[in-house]
Subunit: 271 residues, 2 copies
Amino acid sequence: MTITQQFDSSHFAFVAQLCDLARQTALTYFHSPLEVDHKSPEQPVTIADRSIERAMRERIEAAFPGDGIFGEEYGKTASQTGRTWVLDPIDGTKAFITGMPTFACLIALYQEGEGVVLSAIEMPGLGERWLAAKGQGSYWFKPGLAPERCQVRKAASLAESLITSTTIDMFHGDDLRAYQALCSHLVGRRFGGDAYGYGLLASGFFDFVIEADLQPYDYLAPSLVIAEAGGLMTDWQGGALGLGGDGRVLAAGSAERHADALSKLASDHAK
Amino acid sequence: MTITQQFDSSHFAFVAQLCDLARQTALTYFHSPLEVDHKSPEQPVTIADRSIERAMRERIEAAFPGDGIFGEEYGKTASQTGRTWVLDPIDGTKAFITGMPTFACLIALYQEGEGVVLSAIEMPGLGERWLAAKGQGSYWFKPGLAPERCQVRKAASLAESLITSTTIDMFHGDDLRAYQALCSHLVGRRFGGDAYGYGLLASGFFDFVIEADLQPYDYLAPSLVIAEAGGLMTDWQGGALGLGGDGRVLAAGSAERHADALSKLASDHAK
């Protein structure tokens, strides 16, 4: 991973180490018989989710004492430094437990006043990884290949744009109507990407990712990967994504198409 | 692939060679800029689809002259031997062109009077493969691991069953209503599997795969992989799958649950 030498920050190499750790643990459990607990009917959790987050927290506490941590499984530790590590040990637990390799480990380093400054979309089941550093680009790492600098594509119109989401079942009520209305203007839609969809948008394979019912640990890491590839990701009103929010996100390769899509979402929400 | 030594048929080693060929060509084009033609708005095709099918046809014609071939891109060559090779060079072209590694190469050897006798679900983007031979089981090949004999799981009830499909957009009108009615009895549904979903069912990760709008080259190869893993796959009336059919398929791990699901589909279709 020679690309990491381009970055000054010791945090950056550290993010890559966290990814390695997550990959190793995830692959120990992936495609193996696994006991599944449920935090709620819609929120499965496994020993893999918990083991990975515990291991990442230990490493962070040892390396950067005083930094905050906000993880899916073990909640929030307050920050004394202005920095917070936002962690989803397994994003796409439903994919993970059904053997689909689209699950990810998501890591974002959030700096008070600056937003996300470093992030990773780690894909253990695919051996791939996206890493991004604020002001320094996003990179796609694939086995046996040199890291590729990511560059979004710019669709000429909504009618030529392709959208992806993990599942249509994340949209309910008005959200579902707004989503369907937006899709009616597009050339096509896909499902099943989990966090891989955000990476593929950053690398120029999709024009939009739209999702709802998310948490900051689901969207902060992808948001920097996409921004540093030349795209943008906001809530459904165009507002910046941070440690709060209503869980609705829209990522786009182009600012113009992002504005077009927001207006379609708003016009249907207003009905 | 020492497992192939268990099989007498020279056809079996040949199927594995066709898979190798498809993998090599698919990976030359995957994640690269690619021109996309459209046979219809819903049927994209690329140089990869065409190159793979041409190469497979040449190999088959040289090795087994007189065998029939039925391929997605280049149609039917009549059989003089009672055997027909049924080929989908890239199943999931939409996945392929959007960078999703769930696309597959599907190969089925169909023997008149016997049905499918050998088949493969080859996953170039994942380095995985399922191979099945009639009466001799299905095997899952993963990089660096010994082949695993596939065994479906048997859900105790519909309420504990999980279903997958490539996309909800393959169901229209009465089919969509019947599909939605069936889903309302299940614990959950997933999308985005492409042919990988059939392999995962054979290996015990899903209870059902349901799809529509398919062709024989989409479903014949998966049907043997699933049958040889202890499951079954039919049309929506429970009829055997062959070289014709209406393109609707239901695969299940358990005969009891398959019957339950057929009755839910039929009761809604009858409304």
